[in-house]
């Protein structure tokens, strides 16, 4: 259980983000400590993607602050944040369909080309299938393989925090289990992960802590066990 004595790797404080007049994220505060898997639970449109993309540096915050590894990053461009160790596995994978697997992986290392060969070796150890298909065009991969490619591409940037947006979207349940198992294994090897999911049951089972987002605000937060047994969460997200 993380304590306040440890310094948070990511700390989002009273963050609000809006598109024009729509407040997509309202006064959200959350923390991710080193070594944790934290899950953001919420329905479609709850603001999960906007929150993750704001942390990455795609949307500028309207108010509030984002601190990553001790530095203020609110309004800092995404390429700088990726260089500093943040990365996002986008919703729907976001792999470049017309490029081959190797090029997709190398794009992940765009801001960090120094240790490219050793990063590639490590990714291929994690995902041997990607090595086998490295000359194959990404369009020809299965959904699960694309998700592995997207995660592998994130690993290429030598991240300190991996944000994964809805990895289960559009995948068969058995593949979802595989992907979540991979994330759990990555976490046990030291990677810190911030995960967003609609599939609350499976996600909470592999996470340490969770936040429930409702229409852009945090409705509830706590340890994964507590959220799994919370009557409100069970009713709204676990179908109990």
């Amino acid at each position: 259980m993380p304590s306040d004595a440890r310094e948070a790797l990511l700390s989002v404080d009273h963050l609000s983000v809006s598109y024009g007049h729509v407040n997509a994220v309202k006064d959200v505060s959350l923390e991710v400590f080193p070594g944790e898997i934290v899950v953001l639970i919420g329905a479609n449109g709850a603001g999960k993607t906007t929150l993750l993309e704001s942390v990455l540096g795609i949307n500028a915050p309207r108010s509030g602050s984002i601190v990553f590894a001790g530095r203020q990053i609110g309004g800092v461009a995404a390429d700088h944040n990726v260089r500093a160790g943040l990365c996002l596995v986008p919703e729907g994978r976001g792999v470049f369909a017309s490029m081959n697997v190797l090029d997709n992986l190398l794009l992940g290392a765009h801001n960090n080309m120094r240790n490219v060969q050793s990063s590639l070796r490590r990714v291929f150890e994690w995902f041997p299938i990607l090595q086998k298909r490295r000359k194959q065009i990404a369009r020809t991969l299965s959904g699960g393989e694309r998700q592995m490619l997207a995660i592998g591409r994130a690993l290429m940037s030598a991240p300190r925090l991996i944000m994964v947006d809805e990895p289960s979207l559009g995948l068969a349940p058995i593949v979802v289990n595989d992907i979540l198992a991979i994330l759990k294994k990555l976490n046990s090897e030291g990677y810190t992960i911030l995960l967003s999911e609609q599939n609350a049951n499976k996600a909470l089972k592999c996470a340490h802590r969770g936040y429930v987002l409702e229409t852009g605000s945090v409705a509830l937060s706590g340890s994964a066990e507590r959220l799994l047994t919370d009557p409100g969460v069970r009713e709204a997200y676990l179908g109990a």
């Binding site: 993309e53 990455l56 795609i58 461009a77 995404a78 390429d79 944040n81 990726v82 260089r83 990365c87 996002l88 986008p90 976001g94 470049f96 369909a97 017309s98 490029m99 090029d103 190398l106 794009l107 992940g108 765009h110 801001n111 080309m113 591409r153 940037s157």
Partner: protein, 294 residues
């Protein structure tokens, strides 16, 4: 038969210039996300710079060519902040407003050329650059130095572009932005800075093309840029907007077609025929012969 071979040589050398121009245009379209309709006008402006420098230096070819290439790169880079400002103000990429800006740049260039240099009369390049004595002559077939250069340099330059795109880190980023700008941003590719590299690269291409045009045509006039701009846009649309390989095929084909029309019918028809083909293609295949990459 001799007419055919002669016109085939003329056509291929002219075509390779179209290929260079359409490649630069497509790079800007794909990576910088602008419709730089007047890119050929910028190239013609560089031809004038070459002419001025040749005049000033007593026909020093090295300085003339260097000035052409450097001015083309500078003009491209100077226009970049204007285009990026238009894009950023709209929040999102607004490709239509970049076309209006490009049109304006083209008009300014045409006006400057027709008022400032040589009283608006066409400028002629000296024999050192645009030699009229053929390298080879067999009957009606003659091969000019400029034609050999434009084919050779065209081939090398286009190969170099493909090598950059498929074998280098910036090239990979170019392709990523071309395929999915938002996705590229999410993996941490700096969109504006990478876009700037594409301005520089199409500036190099434009400078090389300015030299080749001077060699092949032997002269330049204020209206030249506009004429060429229409054809480059047509080539890009016929091939499929942003399709580099398609631009290669269609650019060469247009050059050959124009030369054949010139050889057998009349040069004045070549424009009309090119645009009739454009209309037919737009009606039959709205995304171009090889498919648009936008």
């Amino acid at each position: 038969m001799q007419v055919f071979v002669a016109q085939l040589i003329n056509g291929l050398s002219l075509g390779s210039i179209y290929v260079l121009l359409v490649t630069g245009f497509n790079l800007l379209l794909l990576v910088a996300m602008i419709i730089h309709f007047s890119y050929p006008q910028v190239v013609v402006f560089s031809m004038y710079i070459i002419w001025v420098v040749l005049q000033l230096t007593g026909n020093n070819l090295f300085l003339g060519i260097a000035a052409g290439v450097v001015s083309s790169i500078c003009l491209n880079l100077l226009s970049a902040p204007l285009f990026q400002k238009v894009m950023r103000k709209r929040g999102e990429v607004d490709i239509n407003s970049t076309m209006v800006l490009s049109l304006g740049i083209g008009m300014i260039i045409t006006d400057v050329l027709s008022h400032t240099f040589n009283k608006g009369l066409p400028v002629a390049f000296p024999d050192q650059l645009a030699s009229v004595t053929p390298l080879l002559r067999v009957g009606l077939i003659s091969v000019q130095v400029g034609q050999v250069w434009s084919l050779g340099v065209g081939f090398v330059a286009v190969s170099a572009i493909f090598l950059i795109l498929y074998r280098t880190r910036p090239g990979r980023a170019f392709r990523a932005i071309a395929e999915d700008p938002n996705g590229a941003r999410l993996v941490g590719i700096p969109i504006l800075r990478t876009g700037l590299a594409s301005y520089a690269l199409s500036g190099v291409l434009g400078g090389v093309t300015a030299v080749l045009l001077a060699m092949v045509l032997g002269s330049a006039s204020p209206g030249l840029g506009e004429q060429v701009a229409h054809k480059v846009l047509a080539v890009s649309i016929i091939a499929g907007l942003g399709n580099l390989a398609g631009g290669l095929v269609v650019g060469l084909a247009l050059g050959v077609l124009e030369a054949i029309v010139q050889g057998y019918i009349s040069g004045t028809w070549s424009n009309a025929i090119a645009f009739v083909i454009l209309l037919i293609v737009i009606l039959a295949r709205p995304r171009g012969l090889f498919g648009s990459k936008l």
